[in-house]
Structure formats: structure tokens, C-alpha cells
């Protein structure tokens, strides 16, 4: 409990001031992150409000099971992180280091599942761009286009339902941008946790403030996912 009696930087008066500075700084950083992600949530709100039916249809193509497992993994990793901070505060740095490693491993597990999911989505042709498979979202594939329409379209050349743009592409665009940015934050978090875990094994390697702030970052990443999960994966279960 009495490891850091004096501040490590000379412009602080005491350790308490240094700790408060570190905490407040981290929270302000998190505030900027909230608005950073906030733009994407705003974009999501817009798309969802504009075309709820299409978004619901597109959302059905995501694997709810994988998303749910990932949520549980992240929640648990946050829990392990709090334990790491708890023991580090009480001077048990070795135990804390291992708990941080466990947290990082859970983060990697999250990323592995996420990658599987990406591969699946991309293989189905849902990566936005030129090869986006619109017909998966077009009811006319489910119920073939009546001959009348085909006949009528004949005057305008071939019918290419797969070239018909649709809001479903925007949904997948949002899916990749939102989860991609979140995944990037997880990657940064995993690296950060591993580095701190290594530093913790050396005396004086990582200060308590550092571990606390890494924890705040990790929990924040968790908070973002808590909103991403229902908005992306459960949209198909909502009605208006």
C-alpha cells in the first residue's frame, strides 16, 4: 500500500495529485472516444430510422450466437481486469500480471471469434463494395420475379437483380466500420495489457496509475460492445 509515497514527476506536489491527474486525464480521453464512436452510432441511428425493414433483414445474416458468446467473453474479461487492478493495488504484482494476461487472452479469444465471423460474412458476399451480393436481401430471389416484370424489363435489357443497390449494403458497411474500429481498440488493449503485464514483473515497472488507466480503457471498450451487440445482432428481432 505504501509503494509510491512521492510523485514520479517533479511538477507534482504529491502522489495523490499525480493520481488524480492521471485519472481525470484518462476519463477525458474516454470522453473523446465516446464521441469518436458516437458518430458511428449516429450513422446507425440514421440508417435504421430510414429503412428499419431492410436493416432487420440484413441483421438476420449475422450470427447471433457468436455475438452473444463474444459479449460474455468481454464482460468476463472486464471482470478479470478489475481483479487484476484490485490485487495490484494491494501490492500483489505477480498475481496482477497473470490476471492481466488472462484478460488479454480473453481479448484474443474475442478477436478470434470476430475473425471467424468476418470470414463467414465475407464468404457470403456481404462485404460492401463491388462484389456485394444484393440478391440475398432481395425477396425476389426468395420468390422468383414474376414473368410480367421480367417481360417488362426486357425492353431495358437484362435484369440484374444483384446490381440493385440497397440499404442492406450500408448496414454491412456500418457493421464492418463499427466492429472494425472496436476490434482495433481491442487489439490495442490486448497489446497494452501484455506490455503492462511484462512491466509489472519488474519492480517499479508500471505504476498503479498505469494499471488503473489500462483498466479504464478496457472497460470502455467493453461498454462500446455492449451497445454494438444488440444494435447489430438483434436488429432483426425488433419491430416497430
Amino acid at each position: 500500500m505504501n509503494e509510491e509515497p512521492s510523485p514520479t514527476e517533479r511538477h507534482f506536489e504529491n502522489a495523490e495529485q499525480q493520481r488524480d491527474v492521471a485519472t481525470l486525464g484518462m476519463w477525458i480521453f474516454i470522453a473523446t472516444e465516446v464521441l469518436f464512436f458516437g458518430v458511428l452510432f449516429m450513422a446507425y441511428t440514421f440508417v435504421r430510422w430510414e429503412s428499419p425493414v431492410t436493416v432487420a433483414a440484413a441483421s438476420r445474416h449475422l450470427e447471433l450466437g457468436l455475438g452473444a458468446i463474444n459479449t460474455a467473453v468481454l464482460l468476463t474479461s472486464s471482470f478479470v481486469m478489475t481483479l487484476g487492478i484490485f490485487f495490484n493495488d494491494r501490492g500483489r504484482r505477480r498475481l496482477a500480471a497473470w490476471l492481466l494476461v488472462v484478460t488479454a487472452l480473453m481479448g484474443m479469444f474475442f478477436l478470434a471469434i470476430k475473425t471467424t465471423e468476418y470470414v463467414h460474412v465475407i464468404n457470403e458476399g456481404h462485404f460492401p463494395g463491388t462484389r456485394f451480393q444484393y440478391e440475398h436481401f432481395h425477396p425476389e430471389t426468395a420468390n422468383p420475379m414474376p414473368s410480367g416484370i421480367v417481360g417488362a424489363l426486357g425492353t431495358q435489357g437484362e435484369s440484374h437483380p444483384q446490381e440493385i443497390p440497397s440499404v442492406s449494403e450500408l448496414f454491412f458497411w456500418l457493421y464492418f466500420v463499427m466492429t472494425g474500429l472496436h476490434g482495433l481498440h481491442v487489439v490495442i488493449g490486448v497489446v497494452l495489457l501484455l506490455v503492462i503485464a511484462v512491466m509489472l514483473r519488474r519492480p517499479g515497472g508500471a505504476s498503479r496509475n498505469t494499471v488503473h488507466n489500462a483498466g479504464l480503457y478496457w472497460h470502455f471498450v467493453d461498454v462500446v460492445w455492449i451497445f454494438l451487440f444488440p444494435l447489430l445482432y438483434l436488429a432483426c428481432h425488433w419491430k416497430f
Binding site: 488524480d20 485519472t23 481525470l24 476519463w27 477525458i28 474516454i30 470522453a31 473523446t32 465516446v34 464521441l35 458516437g38 458518430v39 452510432f41 449516429m42 441511428t45 440514421f46 430510422w49 430510414e50 429503412s51 428499419p52 447471433l64 452473444a68 459479449t71 460474455a72 464482460l75 468476463t76 472486464s78 471482470f79 481486469m81 478489475t82 481483479l83 484490485f86 493495488d89 483498466g215 479504464l216 472497460h219 470502455f220 467493453d222 461498454v223 455492449i226 451497445f227 451487440f229 444488440p230 438483434l234 428481432h237 425488433w238 419491430k239 416497430f240
Partner: protein, 108 residues
């Protein structure tokens, strides 16, 4: 008087409640709750996020300046979403008055 430090028991309880709420979300998704479905799911998410903020991130034990900045971010996100959506949502109001009606499929 606020406690200054959470205990392990607090962490365990918070974690269990979080998982429980996740289960609740999934359960709710299996029933057709109509228009209640979205608000309910969001309410659960907000509860989960609040628990993490309060206990895992120690907001419950923090100084007021930290709480102010933690909350300000969400307030400002609210400014953004409300400010933008009140434009889109009001575009269909009383179409006689709006010569450039909009594309949107929901009014209100």
C-alpha cells in the same frame, strides 16, 4: 459517505448481474415483444453500461469532476443524436408547409 474502494464481492456481483442481463437480452429476443423490443433491449444495455461505469470503472467512488466529464461525453452524444434526428424527424411534419418533402418513411 461513499465507500472509497469496491470489494471483490462487489466485482463478482456486478459480473454476475451483467451476465444475467445478457441472458435477459437474448431471452427477450426470442419473444415477439413488438414495439417494446427495442426500448427494452436498449434499457438493458444502458443498465449494463451503467454497472460497468459505476463499479468496474469506479465512477461510484470517484471525485465529482471525474463524474462530470464521464457524463458530459454521453450528454454531448445526446446533443448530436437529438440535434440531427430532430431535423430528419420533423421533415414530414405538416407537409403543406414543407415544399421539399423528404424521403423518410416514418413520421414523428
Amino acid at each position: 459517505m461513499k465507500p472509497t474502494q469496491p470489494t471483490i464481492a462487489t466485482y463478482v456481483k456486478t459480473w454476475l448481474v451483467l451476465l444475467l442481463l445478457l441472458a435477459l437480452t437474448l431471452l427477450a429476443a426470442h419473444f415477439d415483444l413488438g414495439s417494446f423490443s427495442l426500448p427494452l433491449t436498449l434499457l438493458i444495455s444502458i443498465t449494463q453500461a451503467s454497472l460497468i461505469l459505476l463499479f468496474f470503472m469506479h465512477l461510484h467512488y470517484s471525485k465529482s469532476e471525474v463524474v462530470v466529464f464521464a457524463c458530459a461525453a454521453y450528454l454531448w452524444l445526446g446533443f448530436l443524436i437529438v440535434g440531427v434526428m430532430h431535423d430528419y424527424l420533423s421533415r414530414n411534419w405538416v407537409p403543406q408547409l414543407t415544399p421539399q418533402p423528404s424521403s423518410q418513411n416514418q413520421s414523428h
